[in-house]
Symmetry: D2
Subunit: 337 residues, 4 copies
């Protein structure tokens, strides 16, 4: 079976496993107050060029999202998101379970735009409505797109205009930073976002996400909130060790680049064979449209997911490459089409 | 100023005030355990022909809605509603504040249809999504429409097909029961809805709504939930006295009919003068489209709200008649257009 | 039946009913934005000598408490309360339902003291604990006691020392202000509390409480929070009319004095007959200890509640006088013992 | 530094690390639907002799507790717990953040008894109170005690008498199962508890807890609730691999025994030297009382925590042994006293 189903199918990059193994019998204090976490946080602050940021390590993306929304908002505040956003669709109402409405904004492609922010703000007139307070974006998006630098700064400007916070879900940040279309880098992030997270789970770590809080007004008592939602890992050092590894020797960039490169190789060959895409391929998730018979054949030999779009004769599938996807797997897939 | 702004601008119908006055110095136990409440509940059960129903009296619509959703749902359950529904738009995220997502379904006119239920159920595939559990409708709708009998039973059927509950917000039930287009009556309600409320605030009472729970599985411990949300009025007898009045001598029907009649008189005259409506007038809320200059003139002499739709030359306003609207007011308005 | 069961057994004081009747057919805008509410708020601000306060009108005490705690706190904040506090015992977990722990502090008599605040603060060491943020007191207490001026200022000092807010539940504020032992007045309240409410339901109104927010940092967007919890009464004017009446012509003080006077007459006579009290009688709730046979006899002719304390031979009962309790009722009771 | 501070200071048992390493490059589906999880669940069901149980794997104890309380309870339900219970003290109000009150019951030693259940049930009279629904116990307790078999069945009986559920927090279940005073085994657990979890984090795993739901009525849609609280690990297989290891070759029992044995060696020697204990030593957490000068000396060479009790001359400290504590560490400590 060729596995192009998702980017969390392997354990972790061997470098991460080695680091966990090397440090396994070291004794540390708990709950992320250890030196591994401190060191990893410092590396992140250096890389993003933001010494004043607060860095916290959590175990997963949904947990990070719900903890932040709960921490940053008052009860009547809502979150503006593209309606394809992870918090809208794939978190079982985790945000609402903390008491907040998510304003689902329809978009043509999964990217939120300043006009969507304007529309959301205009719609919520008075105290009979929730009050939008945070703009949520994912980069890369759930549709595999990358926000460009100018798009990101335009969103920041729209937020500033309306007194809104900007939060970036970086579950696939490694790929967002390294796509062929990317024109921003790590140091833009603290200028754009009030808070964001650097995804580990889908980017080579065994598990874990690094939350970066840039805006001073959002920092207070964050560890209380993380603990309250069950996110303060007793052995926090596991996260410190992992992110220390990811953030060293350019690994995060290297692994993201690899995932994108493998996906681009797939996309280019698929294009060359005359197939179209449901959404323009830009990162490690691509969405080709194939004849239904071909999809049926592929299902015998490839693990992947079907994706929304379907006509009488064709349907869309999602192919995902990761840090661990090999040229052999890519070639084997391409031979099938 | 001619007041056609809403149906909660007066205190209460004089009959209600008389009943409150007549009973003012009677001593009763608190929290709705008095005889006035028991008697009013019995009247309701008789009128809807459902002796097994549970009846609770609450103070307002938002309170009733949020208490029911909180009581009837588990944390991962969501509510399907037309995106114009009161719980979607005008309750400051009250439902989400109890932890539940509301699935906003777009509709052409504010009426939810079985196809919307099908779409919502189909979209929520697995445990990464919330699980729709209740269908919320308002009757009359926020757009002034009335669900017909066949529409209501079709929604019931769609709910049964998917194991969903049906909840009806009856803030303006008096008008829904008495519109010229209405073909259902009080006795249909327990056959259609698992729970619904009979609106008092907008239908002649000073304040208060009567919640009717039909489905046995939803009845347990309801008083706990009402109390938890601050809805167990210490002087519950005030609600018993009011609903005892509303449910006697056909008052609820008479007052609803009056509101609809006044609105129809407005609508017919507006139509006769060649104006169109944003939504077909069916009950006590009507939505004529007027030239902007006329709207500007009306604003000098009439209290009303503007409504969504607007072109370069025209805009929509909402006119609302109530149990207390007089022929004189209607005629005075008609002279202005 | 002599009714000494509680202070919410009658409808409302005739003056309140008259005001509601006189204004019943006036047309106003909704949701408390009317002139009656504005005027009542102004009266309150004058009486408490705090022109900068924000005043909001809500429908009941539990609703006011839960709305404030939800509005004033971040998710990890807790509330320090005597374990006899209304929010601890009699609100069905309303505060916890908004996500906050209440720290129940045992006290000998229902009065919270600075030492309790110290103990609560000391106990909650770090981010594994909730973080106390508000001190909740009721005045009068649920045990019928009145905080003295020096006690109130000492609590304020303890709060300031630890960066805590002080919230006062004034469900029975009329009686707290007018007890024979009272040595503070309305103008002390904004100096003591960051927020408090002036009880209407138990002090002569038909229903309603007036929330006063003194601390500027707690004022923002309060109407959103009130609406979200179903507390923004559509006919807000009903509350404005009532509090306009209560706050005029010294009525609030007069009615509270009457309730206390009736209770004192009961207490003095009970003492004279040689009975003791479970808690020292100070306001309109008193807690005599009677022989069990006497209690059994009283139950035939008087409506009251038994209260906690019980020995083999004796038990405690609660007697409550209100603005409406008559000398005749008091004398009739005293003849029974 | 001799490390006797807690049982989560190391990474994981080498056998667990080996299993993670051996399976690292296997490709699996996500979210715990893989074969490793299925196999580990089967092992657990066999070991506890309860084929009908549902097993879910979560990442930490607080997360498991809050997810279960949220899943098993309606909003007005409360949890009865010893006031030393982890959910009372050390979870930053995580349970309250899901909307539920925890009834803190004082106990002499951290063990809940049937009389505590009786007291809690009796106290909560009607709908003005929360309604106790779950009894929470930790085994071992936070005070290092082990519930005996008869104590456990007595709690079960008290729960059955009042229609309550029994939930057991097994963060240190390995030690509870293997203490010198233990007289129950794995197969008793499903007879005693409606749900419980088998702790991994403190018992040799890198991280993770195995939740076992015995009571059929609590099983429905549990994966939704886990996901909603951020507990559905994308790489769920990591938990399957770990628990597959823990539950094989008697490892869980062996490792728990080792921790208890090291602690007993400490306790016996401390006793022999004439010191007393704050709480009787029964498992891997022990609480000796030492002269303050000795504690000050120990602080130079041993990592541990101080514990509550303190007099002018003496204070209590907590020493914790784990699967990884060595005889050398124990001896080194004993040489210091």
């Amino acid at each position: 079976m060729i596995f192009l189903r998702n980017d969390y199918s392997l354990g972790c990059h061997p470098d991460v496993l080695k680091a966990l193994t090397d440090t396994n019998m070291e004794l540390t204090v708990g709950y992320g107050l250890d030196d591994f976490c401190a060191s990893a946080a410092d590396k992140i602050k250096t890389i993003i060029d933001c010494p004043s940021a607060d860095v916290h390590f959590l175990m997963g993306g949904t947990q990070t999202n719900l903890t932040c929304m709960s921490a940053f908002l008052r009860p009547h505040h809502s979150i503006i998101s593209a309606d394809t956003g992870h918090i809208c669709v794939h978190e079982t109402g985790a945000i609402e379970a903390t008491g907040h409405k998510v304003n689902h904004m329809p978009t043509p492609d999964g990217k939120l735009r300043p006009a969507d922010i304007e529309a959301a703000v205009a719609y919520h007139e008075d105290e009979h409505f929730v009050k939008p307070r945070i703009v949520y974006i994912s980069n890369t998006t759930e549709t595999g797109l990358v926000y460009t630098k100018s798009e990101l700064y335009a969103l920041r400007e729209a937020c500033d205009k309306h007194g809104l916070l900007l939060y970036m879900d970086g579950a696939r940040l490694a790929m967002a930073l390294t796509s062929p279309v990317t024109d921003f880098d790590f140091t833009d992030l603290p200028k754009i976002a009030d808070a964001f997270y650097i995804g580990g789970t889908k980017c080579g770590a065994m598990f874990g996400e690094a939350l970066v809080i840039v805006n001073d007004s959002l920092k207070e008592d964050m560890r209380f909130l993380i603990k309250q939602h069950g996110g303060l890992l007793a052995k926090g050092r596991l996260l410190g060790v992992q992110f220390g590894t990811l953030m060293s020797d350019n690994r995060y960039i290297t692994w993201g680049t690899h995932a994108n490169t493998m996906a681009k190789k797939l996309a280019d060959a698929i294009t060359a064979k005359g197939y179209e895409f449901y959404i323009k391929p830009e990162s490690n998730q691509i969405f080709p449209i194939f004849p239904k018979e071909l999809v049926a054949e592929l299902e015998q030999k490839v693990s992947f997911e079907k994706w929304q779009y379907s006509t009488e004769t064709h349907e869309c599938i999602r192919l995902v490459a990761s840090w661990g996807t090999t040229e052999e797997e890519v070639n084997a897939f391409l031979e099938l089409i």
